[in-house]
């Protein structure tokens, strides 16, 4: 099932689709938060976004994990820009788990991780790699370093396809 047609509301209030955001490339979709111990992963995510021309990192702020993304859209944008110099697109705040989870995240969480386990996002900074056809090809749990060899290998494999 392709996710390219999934609508994405961006943090600036504009509407897009996953396909338009990918522009024929691949995406690393991440649920993010500003007050998490893993928030420094923003640096590695920005590095990835800059390093690979056809890779788009797409951040989805989410306040469901410990209430660690309590800010407004403006506050989130300001924080990311000032603290980490992020230039990758940010979606509007999302619900990634539960009965009211956003449809995109319902699809993403149906994908198993490397250990074969699908289901709920466990915490901030889970990462889902989506290939050019809109298929989820990899899922990485929160503690996986975005710039580490595991993610890089998967990104490069997806880009080569």
């Amino acid at each position: 099932m392709t996710l390219l047609n999934q609508p994405v509301q961006l943090l600036d209030g504009t509407s897009s689709s996953l396909g338009d955001l990918l522009s024929g490339g691949v995406a690393l979709v991440v649920n993010v938060a500003s007050k998490c111990g893993l928030t420094p992963q923003y640096s590695a995510l920005q590095s990835l976004h800059e390093e690979y021309d056809d890779l788009t990192v797409l951040g989805f702020p989410c306040n469901q994990f410990g209430g660690q993304e309590p800010g407004t859209e403006d506050e989130i944008v300001a924080f990311c820009s000032a603290s980490y110099g992020t230039t990758f697109p940010m979606a509007a705040k999302a619900l990634v788990n539960g009965r009211h989870a956003d449809p995109l995240w319902e699809s993403l969480t149906a994908t198993p991780d490397a250990e074969g386990k699908a289901g709920e996002v466990l915490w901030n900074f889970e990462k889902f790699l989506i290939d050019r056809t809109g298929q989820v090809v990899a899922r990485f749990r929160p503690l996986t370093d975005p710039a580490g060899p595991e993610v890089r290998a998967a990104v490069e494999k997806a880009l080569a396809s």
């Binding site: 788990n97 539960g98 009965r99 929160p142």
Partner: protein, 67 residues
């Protein structure tokens, strides 16, 4: 409505708790560890109203709603 102290590891499904930061949670699930960290647990509220979770050390003191 009254509150009594409870240690996080003693919280059970069905409890309604208040965290030190004032947040309240209707507990529908208790995960015994967090991302492999066994000294932490995760309290989850998964209801029609919301899905929310908080992670804390197992010996964290919370307040349990009673009565």
């Amino acid at each position: 409505m009254s509150w009594s102290p409870v240690i996080a590891q003693d919280v059970a499904v069905g409890d309604h708790v208040r965290l030190p930061n004032g947040e309240e949670l209707s507990v529908t699930r208790v995960d015994p560890d967090h991302l492999g960290l066994t000294t932490y647990l995760k309290l989850v509220e998964d209801t029609d109203e919301r899905w929310m979770c908080f992670v804390m050390p197992k010996d964290r003191e919370l307040e349990l709603r009673t009565g």
